[in-house]
């Protein structure tokens, strides 16, 4: 592994440790200490929060905004593929295994709509009056860094000579991930948990 690869590996390690520390912190803080008499089933509601409540038919943010919702789903799939690909590249770099071109091509094809979605979401943020008022540098940086990470992953899969630029982008991506709004990678799951816990406690879900 060359220098840029090592940088990306170190950045990913830092990123992982920060998220791990935050994860442990949140788990230690635990559930709200609610002294009111529970009315519903919190476990059932937490499960509902992660499943049915996420279905497009149950969320205006999905069914009223289907193109954005679909773009968001594709974008997030692309991010997870990007993260898995990075881990795969690192593991493979320590072995003599190589990724078959057909697999690289399939992953790159999966990433293509994700990149397009990322760009479209960025364009929407720039040109929408509502979104531009809401937005700050974090919103643009988070989008650009993530979209670039997806794009460079796809390129690197097809053109191994793009390794240096790929690892530089991944270094930036991992260093930004815990500090930008991209940190919702972890907080999302806790937010859904708390949502289910709250509604479950009160018997709403």
């Amino acid at each position: 592994m060359d220098c840029s690869g090592c940088c990306a590996l170190i950045a990913s390690g830092i990123c992982f440790l920060i998220f791990l520390a935050r994860f442990i912190h949140l788990v230690r803080l635990g559930n709200p200490k609610d002294l009111s008499q529970k009315s519903g089933d919190t476990k059932k509601a937490v499960k509902y929060s992660f499943t049915e409540a996420m279905m497009p038919k149950n969320k205006e943010s999905a069914y009223l905004h289907l193109p954005t919702y679909i773009a968001g789903i594709l974008y997030h799939i692309g991010t997870f593929v990007t993260l898995i690909s990075f881990v795969s590249f690192i593991v493979i770099s320590f072995t003599k295994i190589s990724i078959p071109y057909s697999v690289s091509l399939i992953v790159a094809i999966i990433l293509a709509p994700a990149v397009i979605s990322g760009i479209s979401i960025l364009i929407k943020r720039i040109f929408s009056k509502e979104l531009s008022l809401l937005s700050g540098p974090d919103d643009y940086i988070s989008n650009i860094v993530t979209t670039l990470a997806q794009l460079l992953t796809a390129i690197f899969l097809l053109l191994p000579e793009a390794g240096d630029i790929y690892f530089i982008v991944m270094t930036l991506f991992f260093l930004w991930l815990p500090f930008g709004k991209t940190r919702h990678l972890m907080y999302f799951f806790f937010a859904r948990y708390h949502l289910g816990y709250f509604y479950g406690w009160r018997g709403t879900w």
Binding site: N31, L134, D139, K181, H184, F188, F190, A191, T204
Partner: protein
């Protein structure tokens, strides 16, 4: 422009460092500002101004959190949307967190992440309360409750006179001396509470509930001093004042040895006592706390009261109070009671957990400086009601009744607004022989 005392500002910021559990830090870090919550908010839908998008309100609070409580916010605030809590920010917070959010929670259910937006709005209100920046009108409502025992400052004599008058009417109507409205009686099964709007403006709703108690042969009492179910301390977010108000009621239940606290028809009052009260007082209540909707449902199921729904022949619709339905889990219970009391029920669209707020929640009715906004956002509710074709709107919340009455007048809906106890009382089959 407002002025901020630095010491109080520091105390306000400290509220964001609270680590009693993981909920606050989670929600402060979870919003991605996608803006998709906009279409779930009445303020945005009615006024189409970006500042009313719920995530703008979230971002006000979380940007202060980032500025003072995070590493990245301290070293690179501009990069991560971290902002100072200065006079300008505080003024914007007052306008949007008090004046442009009813804390109905509709946006939460539809948030793509699941951020508890009203929870953060309330945290922002707590910060403003710490800096003495609660709108005066709302604060005076809380002051009245703290100083007089009820939020309208009704003198005890006036209240007792009203109750005695309603009792005489009830006794005459039932032609039975046992049809009473007991005051300050000890060791009764039920300690009943009211929204002060009832003795002040809607005394018939007191006699309606008294009629139900009479039909159910219930042992109950009202307190002449602490009968107020409301707690506007929940809305001004001054925890100390909210605790005083909740504690007054708690102590009164104990003084009269009530076994069950029955929360009158008030959405936020039910929420403040049923869900928040034990947390204000930092102890589990040693008596049951039950809303009047649940109690009536219990009476119907157990056969303690009999209803004849043919006595209510109009077309009815239900307005779901946010604090009882989305934030209180009573959607089905309300429908169980109403369907037993009326023949024709037409639901609004959307209804239940997706229902729109009446527009008067979150303390909005107490803040006259935001009356124009309140009536403007209420058009959404008015349109919903009009589309049902109903002649009567039922809602188990006097706060909602007040707002709906104003909407009825403003938008010329020509409907009647009633509470659940009124509609149940009208359907009662009473055999007092």
């Amino acid at each position: 422009m407002v002025t901020i005392d630095n010491t109080k500002r520091d105390k306000a910021i400290d509220l964001l460092r609270s680590e009693s559990d993981s909920k606050l830090v989670t929600h402060l870090n979870a919003c991605v500002r996608c803006g998709l919550c906009a279409d779930s908010c009445m303020y945005y839908l009615a006024m189409k101004e970006p500042k009313y998008i719920p995530s703008v309100k979230v971002n006000m609070v979380s940007s202060i959190y980032r500025k003072y409580c995070t590493f990245e916010g301290k070293i690179a605030p501009a990069l991560v949307n971290a902002k100072k809590l200065d006079e300008e920010m505080a003024a914007e917070m007052v306008d949007l967190l008090f004046g442009a959010c009813t804390m109905c929670g509709r946006c939460v259910k539809h948030c793509s992440i699941g951020v508890d937006i009203p929870f953060l709005v309330k945290k922002g209100r707590e910060m403003l309360a710490t800096m003495d920046l609660v709108p005066e009108t709302l604060q005076s409502t809380v002051d009245a409750a703290v100083n007089t025992g009820n939020n309208m400052g009704i003198p005890t004599e006036e209240f007792v006179d009203t109750i005695k008058w309603m009792e005489e009417e009830l006794t005459d109507e039932m032609q039975d001396e046992r049809a009473r409205i007991p005051l300050d009686e000890q060791d009764k099964e039920l300690f009943y509470t009211l929204n002060p709007r009832e003795p002040k403006f809607f005394p018939l709703s007191i006699s309606a509930m008294a009629k139900i108690f009479y039909a159910a042969n219930a042992e109950w009492t009202l307190s002449s001093k602490y009968y107020d179910v409301t707690n506007y301390g929940y809305f001004n977010a001054n925890t100390k004042e909210a605790t005083i108000i909740a504690e007054n009621l708690y102590n009164e239940v104990h003084r009269l040895h009530g076994k069950r606290l029955i929360l009158g028809e008030c959405g936020h009052g039910s929420r403040a006592n049923r869900w928040e009260g034990p947390n204000y007082l930092k102890k589990k209540y040693d008596f049951d706390t039950v809303t009047v909707v649940e109690l009536i449902a219990e009476y119907i199921r157990s056969g303690k009261i009999t209803l004849d729904k043919t006595l209510n022949k109009e077309i009815y619709t239900i307005h779901d109070p946010c604090n009882l339905v989305r934030n209180g889990g009573l959607m089905d219970e309300i429908r169980f009671v109403v369907k037993n009391a009326v023949e024709n029920l037409v639901e609004m669209n959307p209804y239940g957990k997706d229902n729109f707020c009446c527009g008067g929640g979150g303390g909005a009715l107490a803040m006259s400086e935001y009356n124009d906004r309140r009536l403007k956002i209420g058009k959404i509710k008015a349109d919903q009601i009009a589309k049902t074709g109903a002649k009567v709107v039922i809602t188990p919340c006097h706060n909602c009744v007040d707002q709906l009455t104003q909407l009825n007048h403003t938008y010329k809906l020509g409907v009647k607004i009633v509470t659940i106890s009124e509609i149940v009382a009208d359907a009662l089959v009473i055999n007092n022989k």
